[in-house]
Symmetry: C2
């Protein structure tokens, strides 16, 4: 989060149409759970627009970018690189070392689509598995970020929000930027 070295999430691979929602959810999860920035493939413009719109309405700081150079983004990264994969080391075994490294260095978290080449496994400082079971790259990213930030991300403040949701035991309460409430 925002006083610490940067955490960026790189969505590696995207098939327009088929992956739109997954890529959007990767971006929204990165934002909600404490990353500073998400970098999407250049063919994921629809997901980029959705994440930017949510940031406009619900606040930041959070950046969404696109790149045509996924591999170069990894190779040129000044800091540590984590690749999330079901084949990797167990998150519970390596999260402490990664947190330690992130105290002094920016962190790039690579979240795969369907096919990730071996070069990414080799380029990563850590290949990390949130369970060695097949499930969801969105779920893996969420648990990884929650453990990286040790829950601090759940209490973060949002700046320049048009809408703010007020926690409720039942029903919905949204306050706008002027403090007016829309309850239901």
């Amino acid at each position: 989060m925002h006083e610490e070295p940067e955490v960026a999430v790189l969505r590696y691979g995207h098939r327009p149409g088929r992956d739109d929602r997954m890529t959007t959810h990767v971006g929204l999860t990165a934002r909600a759970l404490g990353a500073d920035r998400v970098i999407l493939p250049d063919n994921a413009s629809q997901s980029r627009a959705t994440v930017a719109d949510i940031t406009d309405r619900f606040g930041g700081p959070f950046e969404v970018e696109q790149t045509a150079e996924l591999d170069a983004t990894i190779d040129r990264w000044s800091g540590a690189v984590v690749h999330l994969t079901m084949y990797g080391e167990r998150v519970q075994d390596v999260a402490g070392d990664i947190r330690q490294r992130h105290r002094s260095e920016p962190l790039l978290i690579v979240v795969g689509g369907e096919k990730v080449p071996f070069e990414v496994y080799d380029a990563a400082d850590w290949n990390v598995a949130v369970t060695n079971q097949p499930h969801s790259e969105v779920a893996g990213l969420a648990v990884f970020l929650d453990r990286l930030f040790e829950g601090r991300e759940l209490a973060q403040e949002w700046e320049d929000a048009e809408n703010r949701v007020v926690p409720q035991a039942s029903g919905k309460r949204v306050v706008d930027g002027d403090g007016a409430a829309d309850e239901s």
Copy 2:
């Protein structure tokens, strides 16, 4: 998990085609992160087949079911009901109470699709938000389960698996049921 009172996940709502991957990811995340069972809507047969196939190959115990009666599943549940929603109470504030209740009672976790009626908010014992920000029902479920089980789910053993992934610092290693390895 399996010596404790049951944890079931109910996917509330599904639009065939559009929601297939999200519903599949809800089911796979429920399985990988310690739930005992997922209950899908009756129109989510494709997601059911995928989750059942993964369970056959990567092990159980885990059950996948379908129902035409989403509301009745909630109303007839013998135990506690948690509804995950961005409008709810903060997970960091209520997880302890929910864990306490789950020590003696089965838990039903309701994961919404696009539209969840107010009756579900009223029927739930807890409406719980994994951040009050819009992101992903898959991410919310993942963080909720990891906090419910306090990480114990990451070390669970899988029975009757045809394939077992062996954690690796780099590359992929999968062992089959006979102990033979397929490395790459």
